[in-house]
């Protein structure tokens, strides 16, 4: 099959970018989308042009390194699928495909389609953990976790941190990412001691970098792990509760 590509080219964060157009013949239906870009890059190199920079690593949908806007959709047209697992059979012969990097103030473009998502790490650093220094853990089965709770926590923990939620959100909000991590930890018994401070610190850090949630639901549709926006509601509830809980505890300490 043949495809006509319109790809965002940008030298670095400081320079302006623009779309460049390429035609690619001999694209196989069996190729993944990223393999199609590999082929384009080989073609560009042999033609003496610099290849398109894009991020990918595991190419099996779990590391969260890949992710581009394909025809205006984060990770492209297939639901529940990261860019690396999208295959060319989802496109028709002669398709016009526009490829653009994630757009967010906090995702500056490194080059071409690669962006810097380290703001997501800042959110985790603000409280996305359970403080458990190595060696201090009790015997694992001392903490029973109801299966339903464990499963719900897992559904949230499945987040791969790709940033598609931010990219897809019309507001550039990272609420789904943040909510997923908060829900993973706040649902579990092990996460209870830091529950209220975690949600406050993570939400505040999130808002330092990203937009706000107005419940569009685009993030859920773009998420390659199909994480539910129910977790955003859960985060909102915990955030409001935390306002009261923390105040009482602080007051008690005098």
């Amino acid at each position: 099959m043949r495809v006509h590509l319109k790809i965002w080219r940008q030298k670095n964060a400081r320079t302006e970018g623009a779309f460049a157009e390429y035609d690619l013949d001999n694209v196989s239906h069996e190729m993944s989308f990223l393999e199609m870009l590999d082929v384009l890059n080989e073609q560009l190199i042999s033609g003496g042009q610099e290849p398109v920079a894009f991020d990918s690593d595991c190419r099996e949908g779990i590391c969260g390194m890949c992710g581009v806007m394909i025809n205006g959709e984060a990770h492209g047209p297939q639901r529940g699928t990261a860019t690396c697992q999208l295959h060319m059979r989802k496109f028709s012969d002669g398709a016009h495909i526009t490829v653009e990097p994630w757009r967010s103030r906090s995702f500056p473009v490194n080059k071409d389609l690669s962006v810097d998502r380290s703001a997501l790490d800042r959110i985790i650093e603000a409280g996305g953990y359970i403080t458990a220094p190595t060696g201090s853990a009790p015997e694992a089965n001392l903490i029973p976790v109801p299966k339903e709770v464990s499963d719900a926590a897992f559904d949230a923990a499945a987040c791969i941190g790709c940033g598609a939620c931010v990219a897809a959100c019309p507001n550039g909000a990272a609420n789904l990412f943040t909510a997923a991590k908060i829900a993973h930890l706040n649902l579990l018994p092990q996460g209870q001691p830091e529950r209220w401070s975690r949600v406050v610190r993570m939400v505040e850090t999130m808002e330092d970098h990203f937009g706000s949630c107005t419940n569009y639901g685009e993030c859920q549709a773009a998420c390659p792990k199909e994480i539910s926006i129910d977790y955003i509601a859960y985060m909102n509830r915990d955030f409001v509760k935390a306002q009261l809980k923390n105040r009482r505890l602080i007051a008690q300490r005098g």
Binding site: K6, W8, A13, F19, M69, N71, G72, E73, T98, V99, E100, R103, S104, R105, S106, F107, P108, D116, S118, A119, D121, R122, A168, P170, N171, G172, A173, V203, E204, E207, D208, H209, F210, G211, S212, C213, T214, N215, Y216, G217, E218, Q220, A221, A222, I229, D230, I232, A233, Y234, M235, N236, R237, D238, F239, V240, Q243, R247
Partner: protein, 240 residues
Amino acid sequence: MTSATSTPVRTRRNLPWPIAFYQTAVGKKWVMAVTGIILLGFVLVHMVGNLKMYLGETDLNKYGVALREIGGDLVPHTSILWAVRSLLILAFVLHIHAAATLTAMNRKARPVGYKGGRHYVAANYAARTMRMTGVIVLLYLLFHLMDLTWGNANPNFVHGEPYHNVVESFSRAPVAVVYIIANILLGIHIYHGAWSMFQSLGWNNPRINAARRWFATAFAALIVIGNVSMPIAVLAGVVS
């Protein structure tokens, strides 16, 4: 290096708790949801009250008087009405302020948009047009007050005779059309808002999640049908 190449969109300040809460977007959305509930209540009660129009002039005019006399002789005349009005004004102000500041925050969050265009998958028309419908409904509200409360937009306005004023107003076809369009937009605004508030407040549970959508749809439909029926009834001559 550890530091992100991206810098925070805003800087945090140390403020008293309620203000600090309102400074956060999640807090603002909570305020929008709570004020939204107040406004939904107002819209519903307002509509139900106005439907008295169908019972005739006496009933509607009595209703107007009754509103002023809530509390009877226990409190000064119209004080409860003014208390409710104050609450509504506060709700409006907060709702609008929160929306405006969130919009500003969101604009900053994506200074460079998608040059190749966006394809929306989940965001429905109502959700994407909240700002527009909100602003139009606000303008309509001002007109509505001028038309039927203050009377400066209604040449035949008679103070204390709501039935007469409504009929006079809706008899003007362009005004009736404005009312109809504005109420449909209000319905669209409610269609998203009455669902969205559950998310913002964190009222979710797999058991009620489907009902949230149903509730919002039904509420929006009820308001639109009830409110739009009135100008149509006047235009059609059912009420005169």
